[in-house]
């Protein structure tokens, strides 16, 4: 006998929001909101944090950025507990591990905190709302489309991901695979997925490895900001420049040089600061009782306009921006 997977049964349940939201409630002032990225000192989250602080100023809330310096699955828990201990009103978090933070988030919610996840979700029953930068489908399909355009519709391609455990990366890769199975991409062949661990050096070496292992490689998708920059840097300084195409998710500042020197034709990303902005507004809306996280609820997120909560408590920011030589100079993040 004993406790096995089968005997344990399903533990997860959906978010239960008994109370009803009041769409007309005013946003409270002086709300205390903790902003908890996966990792502080990560440029992507630094930009998101700026957006959160902007929103904070707009709604006169006190946004307190904090967080661990490493992206280990569990290092956020201490900070979640601290937020609860400090009796904050809301927590805006990008979860390093959907499950590892769940118990702490649940206990924080029991103590009255509203929890908004952004960028990378936690277990759905552990948060109120998830702000998705774009649906996985949008992102992944977009990436496949970009690479297909870049390589001219046929050839071998590879993926350079972050860590093997990154939830959102893996979700995207799954979608990419289904996407590639579609007839319009029959010319493309995914030959390998490599992991650069979101580390410059490793990503660099893995790019080299991909190119050596697959002499006919035509394109690389790197849906992570560190990976795409490292890969671009390697390509631009090697003989593969122009012969092997690259796309991915990168910040315009990182990629500007490589777009200008034609190493990279196009890549995509959403604006992280808008993501932070929206998440903070949503947190405020929750804490003020405007919404509860139930599907169909509507609220206004400052200058970003109106949003509706979708299925499973998800809000989608909007489609990612595609950056090319023509538009890249209009962005600075």
């Amino acid at each position: 006998g004993g406790t096995t997977k089968d005997s344990a049964g399903d533990q997860t349940g959906g978010a239960t929001n008994a109370a009803k939201g009041d769409p007309n409630a005013a946003l409270k002032e002086g709300l205390k909101i903790t902003f908890l990225p996966k990792q502080v000192n990560n440029p992507y989250f630094t930009v998101a944090q700026k957006g959160a602080e902007q929103a904070g100023t707009a709604i006169k809330a006190e946004v307190k950025p904090t967080g661990p310096s490493d992206a280990a699955a569990s290092s956020q828990v201490t900070y979640i507990n601290t937020a609860a201990q400090q009796k904050q009103d809301a927590l805006v978090i990008s979860a390093n591990d959907a499950n590892a933070v769940a118990p702490a988030l649940k206990s924080a919610r029991q103590q009255g905190l509203k929890v908004v996840t952004f960028d990378s979700d936690a277990a759905p029953d552990a948060r109120d709302v998830f702000i998705n930068q774009a649906t996985s489908n949008e992102i992944a399909a977009g990436q496949v489309k970009l690479i297909s355009e870049a390589v001219g519709g046929s050839g071998e391609i590879a993926i350079l991901s972050a860590t093997p455990n990154a939830t959102n990366q893996n979700a995207w890769i799954e979608v990419m695979k289904t996407e590639l199975a579609k007839p319009e991409y029959s010319g493309l062949k995914l030959v390998e997925t490599a992991y650069g661990n979101d580390d410059d050096q490793t990503s660099f070496q893995k790019t080299q490895g991909l190119l050596q292992a697959h002499p006919n490689l035509k394109g690389i998708i790197s849906p992570t900001t560190v990976g795409v920059a490292a890969a671009a840097r390697y390509l631009s300084s090697s003989e593969y420049k122009g012969k092997v195409q690259l796309t991915g998710l990168g910040t315009p500042n990182q990629m500007r040089k490589f777009v200008q020197d034609d190493t990279v034709k196009s890549f995509a990303l959403w604006d992280p600061s808008k993501l932070g902005y929206l998440a903070t507004y949503t947190a405020a809306a929750l804490a003020s009782g405007q919404i509860t996280g139930a599907e169909g609820e509507k609220y206004k997120a400052g200058e970003l306009g109106d949003y509706t909560i979708g299925a499973k408590g998800e809000v989608v920011l909007g489609p990612p921006t595609v950056f090319t030589k023509d538009n890249i100079d209009k962005f600075d993040f």
């Binding site: 096995t4 533990q11 590892a100």
Partner: protein, 319 residues
């Protein structure tokens, strides 16, 4: 020896200072039951691993693979759980696996005479790699609440987290083993003069091997605690924890060269590091400062005895 004793007194003094300033500056929430519960949870695994690691370092060796063993045991839990094993069989299996990992370290060190620093850097990569092989990129999270609640609820009627109860029990066992038994005496002798210990008929290799096995087994226990506490079995659990544990042990006054140190000092060191971190986070100190403070504490821990020695000798020189 007397200098070290003084360092342990200093640690206790620092602990009191941190507790009092924490209490005052957070209006009492630092020493509140809830926060102490969280603090206990945070230091649980480090306290556990620090126990056998103290013995290993006192014996003049080091084990940097402990965090990887933690990760491997977590991955094993997930894998076996998915394979339909019961937790009651998984737990002992994983502890044995950890002991085997430790035994591999120990055998490489004792049989081949390889430096443990080098060996355990190698197994640090190897065990973490095996964890990835076992569980890949998946995370297993559907453990029953009856187990995971050990990580989120205190012992009924108190604010003491279960991992701390476990650590305390083990601390007593390890304390007796190190300080009151002939085994412990051998450990000190080996650390201070391995050849001399051998010439005294101490079974150096056997003692060292057993220490590595203990380190592996306890790291696996820490892996179990970790997994249930976060209710998440992943291959990358506890990544990089080794430096934090080594830091805590050294802060506790254990000499990296072996032969010196007490378990009491190490526990005080763990508590001080954890307490200070907790307090700084509670006061919204930035991560940078946190990192710097950790480093400075380590520096102080080695410099303080040396400085007091100098001051003492200066005072004697100038009557």
């Amino acid at each position: 020896m007397r200098n070290l004793l003084r360092w342990e007194t200093a640690l206790v003094f620092l602990l009191v200072v941190v507790a009092l300033t924490g209490q005052v500056s957070t209006d009492g929430s630092f020493l509140s039951g809830g926060n102490l519960f969280y603090l206990g949870l945070d230091i649980g695994e480090i306290a556990l691993i620090a126990l056998p690691l103290t013995l290993v370092i006192v014996a003049g060796e080091i084990d940097l693979s402990v965090a990887s063993v933690l990760g491997l045991s977590s991955a094993l839990i997930g894998w076996l759980w998915n394979a339909g094993w019961s937790l009651e069989t998984i737990i002992p299996t994983v502890i044995v696996a950890g002991a085997v990992c430790g035994a591999v370290n120990g055998l490489l060190v004792t049989r081949l005479g390889l430096p443990s620093l080098a060996v355990t850097i190698g197994t640090l990569a190897l065990y973490r790699g095996l964890a990835l092989v076992v569980l890949g990129d998946t995370a297993v999270a559907d453990f029953p609440a009856s187990y995971t609640s050990f990580g989120t609820t205190p012992v009924p009627g108190t604010d003491i987290p279960y991992p701390i109860v476990l650590a305390a029990v083990l601390a007593v066992l390890f304390g007796v083993a190190l300080h009151a038994s002939s085994f412990g005496r051998s450990v000190y002798a080996i650390g201070a003069n391995e050849e001399g210990a051998r010439f005294s008929g101490i079974r150096v290799k056997r003692v060292k091997l057993s220490l590595f096995v203990l380190a592996g087994a306890v790291a696996a226990i820490a892996g179990i605690v970790y997994t249930f506490r976060f209710s998440s079995a992943r291959a990358d659990n506890g990544l990089g924890l080794e430096l934090a544990v080594v830091a805590a042990v050294l802060l506790g006054g254990v000499s990296i060269f072996g032969g010196k140190g007490t378990l009491f000092g190490v526990l005080a060191g763990v508590l001080l590091l954890g307490g200070l971190r907790n307090l700084l986070i509670l006061q919204d100190t930035s991560t940078e400062v946190l990192t710097i403070v950790t480093g400075l504490l380590l520096l102080v821990s080695v410099l303080a005895p040396s400085v007091t020695r100098r001051v003492a000798s200066l005072r004697k020189a100038a009557p």
